[in-house]
Each structure stands twice: as C-alpha cells, then as structure tokens.
Symmetry: C2
Subunit: 330 residues, 2 copies
Amino acid sequence: MRKLWSMYLLLIVCFGGYVYVQSFHASSVDSFHQAGGGLKGSNDEKYVMITFQSGIDYWKNVLKGFEDAAEVLNVSVEYRGATEYDVQEQINVLEQVIARNPSGIAVSVIHAEALTHTLNKAVEAGIPLVLFDSGAPMSKAQSTLATDNFQAGVTAAHKMAELSSRRGKVAVITSPNQLNLQERTNGFTETIRNHYAELTVIAVEDGKGDPYFTEQVTRSLLKQYPDLSGIFITEANGGVGAGNAIQAANKEGIVKIIGFDTNKGTLDMVRSGVISATLAQGTWNMGYWSLLHLFHLRHSDSKHISPIPPRVDTGITVVTQNNIDTFYAK
Amino acid sequence: MRKLWSMYLLLIVCFGGYVYVQSFHASSVDSFHQAGGGLKGSNDEKYVMITFQSGIDYWKNVLKGFEDAAEVLNVSVEYRGATEYDVQEQINVLEQVIARNPSGIAVSVIHAEALTHTLNKAVEAGIPLVLFDSGAPMSKAQSTLATDNFQAGVTAAHKMAELSSRRGKVAVITSPNQLNLQERTNGFTETIRNHYAELTVIAVEDGKGDPYFTEQVTRSLLKQYPDLSGIFITEANGGVGAGNAIQAANKEGIVKIIGFDTNKGTLDMVRSGVISATLAQGTWNMGYWSLLHLFHLRHSDSKHISPIPPRVDTGITVVTQNNIDTFYAK
C-alpha cells in the first residue's frame, strides 16, 4: 500500500515535470523573439490586404501569397477591396480598416497623390504599412513590393534578342504617358542598344492600352517595315490586338510578339503560337513577402528584428508554350 | 484499494494523452511545411556567407544580420572571407564551399565577370545562391540584396534640399568610372532637377575615391563658387577630405556636406558638425534577408514556398548628429 502511494507520488512528480518542460518549450516556440523559436505569430494577429477593382483575376494570386504566408506564420488575414476603380471608395475602405487597428495593412494604391494622406494616417497610428503592385513614393509606407518595370523591360529585351537570333528591326507599342510603361520601354530600348549591336528599335508607338488601337498600329508597322522581326507590347490589353494584326498579315511566328501579363486572351495566343511570349508579374511574391514584411514590422521590438528593406522587385517570369499551363491554372 | 488503482489508471491515461497531444504539437512546430508551424529549420542546415577583404568593419553588421536570422530560424551559419582583395582567392573559397554542399550560399561578389562561372556551378549543383552588397547580373544567382544606388542618390538629394532650404548651388564629387557611383550621381542630379527648381547642380567632379584628391577638388570648388551651398560625396573615402577643405576655409555648417558610409573619420566629422549627414547602407538587412531568401529556396519543395524576389533594395539610413550613436555602436 505504501509502495503504491509512493509510485503514485512519483508519477505525479513526473507528470508535473513533463508539463513544466513542455510549457517552457511551447512558450519558446510561440514567441519568435527567443532563439531558435522560428518565425511564428499568433492567431489574434490580423493583417489586412486592400486592393481596388477587387473582382479582377490579377489579385487572386496576390491574395494566395498573402494567405500562404499567413498559414506558415500562424496569423490571420482579411481581404478588403474597393469594387470599382474609385479613389474615394479606396480612401473610405482604408479609413475603416485603420479605425479597427489591425496588426498591419498591405495596400495596392489606386492613386498615389490622393491616397498619401490616408496612408500616412495608418503609419502615424502605429500600424505597419506596406504597399504592393503600385506604390505611393511620397508616403510614409515602410516598403513597396512591386514589379521593377525597368527590369521587366530588360527581361523583354533579352527574350526578344533570343527570339530574333540577335538581329533585325524591332518595335515597341506602349502608352507613352504612363510612368510604369515608360520604364518598361526604357529598360527594353536601353538593353537592345547596349547589348545587341545588330538589333535596332525602329519605332516606339502609342497603342493607347487598347486592343483595337494596338491592332491598327501593328498593321501600319507591318506595312512600313515589311522586314520587322518583333514587337514588344508593354501592357496587358494590346497583345491580342497585335496578335490579330499579325494573323491577318499571315506573319505568325515570323514577327515575334512579346506581350505583358497573363490575360486569358494573351495566354490563348501564346498557346497557339501567335504571341511568342508574355511577361507574368510576380503576384504571388507580392502577397507573400508583403505579409512577411508586415510581420517583421509588427514584431520589430525584438532585438533580432530591424527595419525592413524599403523596396522589393517581385520579379518577372517569361511565359511561353513551355510553361504556360501553370499560368492558366492560377 | 480498487479506487486507488482506478485513480492510478486514470492518471496514466491522462499522462499518455498529454504526451500524445504535446508530441503532435511539437512535430507541427518542427516542420514549417505544416500550416501554422512557423518558419523554422533545423540545426543541421548550414548556410555559408562569403565576402572579400574579410577584415573590414563594413561586413560586421552584414554578418550580424545573417546570424540573427539563423538564430530566429534555428539553423546554422558559417562565415568565410577571402582576406585580400584578390579575385582568385574568392574563386578558391567559393569552390571549396560548393564542394561541401551546404544548404545555401550568400556571396558578396568581388568581380562580376570573373566570378560568374563559379557562381553558376553552385546553382547547377542545386545549392541555393543569393548575392549581397555587390552582385553579378549575368549569373544564375536567384536574387541580389544590395543598396539601390540610384535611390541612395535620390535620398541624398532630398536631404540636401532640406539642409539648404531648397535653394542655391550644389556639387557632386564622385569617381566617374564606377557604375555604382554613376547611379548615385544620377539619382542625385535627376532628383534635384525634377523636384527642386531653385537648386542647381553646378558641377560633378572626380575625387578619385581618395581623401587627398577630394580635398583638392573641394578647395577649387570653394574658390570657383564662393556661394556654394552643398557637396554630395558619393563614396566612403572622400568625406573626410571634403571636411578638411571646408574647415580650412572656415565654412563648416555653411557649405553642407553629405558623405557616404560610416567610416570612423566620417562619423567623427558628423559628430563635430563639419559633415552634415552621411548615408549608411542597410548592411544588417543584407545579411538578415539573404538568409531568409536562402531558407525559402532550400525549402521550396513546400507547397507554400515559391520563387523569391529577384532584387531587394536593402535601403539607406541618413545619419546625422541626432542618430549617430547607434552607428558608432555597430
């Protein structure tokens, strides 16, 4: 009987000891401040993503990246979008989100000047703020994660050189008044000029970001330069227009087209070979690394965590017939 | 007696249950592949950082960032530096590291063309590779984490405008043949031209990256433009030279100097007010986020982990008398 009691006691001591050790372990894991605990938050941390034109496909992959990071980091996320292309609606949505004092906010900015005041309110309220896809350079946001448009143009130029065996005449169709498209154009033309002596950019035309106009512009380029080897279309809408013009002239595969983004129309023409390649932006990266930045800002009291990088180029993937399936799937 | 036995049994069941629950919890924490597990590796993962001129202070903070990230992520790191400014030595060190097949390698590249072949060997061997501080644009490295030098020039321009009340004549002293210094110069001059109508860049001079030459150039600038309001020195060595010239002319605080980096000589002159500000590069960020990138590449088999951003601007901090102490401490 006494033996039984002492066994009993021993068991209780063991159990207590085990609980103590485990709870110590658990607490070191729950807080990544402690060495070796990993980057891990808690479920009551809520991070909010805000876009505009919330219905469009482009955001799906951004949100997927944001959600994937949240799952890994063990935190919660919420998605808010202004449904229309409406500056005031995005300001209102942002004001509402700030009022709820979330753990962090990631915003794709519809209009840099108009939003800067409200964006700064978030920072002044101590809420971590990062911008993705389109930023607001004069705001107090701690970082911007977006496509480096100049580098996207550089990538297009190298791909064009590969497609045209590094020689011949190429053209650009763009919207000359849009800053991001100017940067894509500059990256393209400077790279052709500096790296490919036998390739020449013979024209930079205005396609008005419209398939119909781009088709007309392509038709006249084909007439003016019958030996044209390629066209780089700097934005999402023109690719299909250029493709139509090329088909009408029976020049599929002879005049190489490089488009931008992964609209279904563009992807269909890549699959059928009318468009040689299109440039996919790193949308998943935008979402995933936005949340990683916000998480670091939220936990910046830790001795290990310092200010985050102010600018991240989320990158470009060249989409061709070889890898197109993943882009349809997304 | 029977009561005691059943208590005993109950206790054993409780204990068993607790152990089961806890071990389940622990396993979900050890692997970040599982939802909510956090980003956490294992001690047998070893990541290697390679620099050149390994003795210089500049790397200390980079290594600190690398180590801090390793502590958080529960992985191991190792530091290898070529001691001299010697291309062949860095190639040899890199070859040795590749042969040991580590979990990832971060390299600050001494010479882009000369190193590209060896860098590519690492990638072809399936070893994650990122570059920091100075990159190799034509290599297969998966990302580059470094100061965006154009943006550093932009930051210098805004600071110069603030210091000179947005008006007057300013000059740049640089080394015209070095690409990173050209970019800093362009960022500075373009920002002054586009944003500050009453500020003019009246000269861009060659200081040869040397304190003595920079002092001579500053003396002649002061003679030629007695109403000069400021000078931006684009690299680390010239700041002290410009400071000496300003002191000799009794123009401390009248001609505002913005230097680069945080050499002790430059910091001393910031403290004494001869140099108005200097630009500190985001060295801790380079190390910390390099390891985070390598970790993601290493674990990219997980469904949550996708390719990393190809370029990160690790940022600039403007160092003045107000915040100088942290930079001495580091």
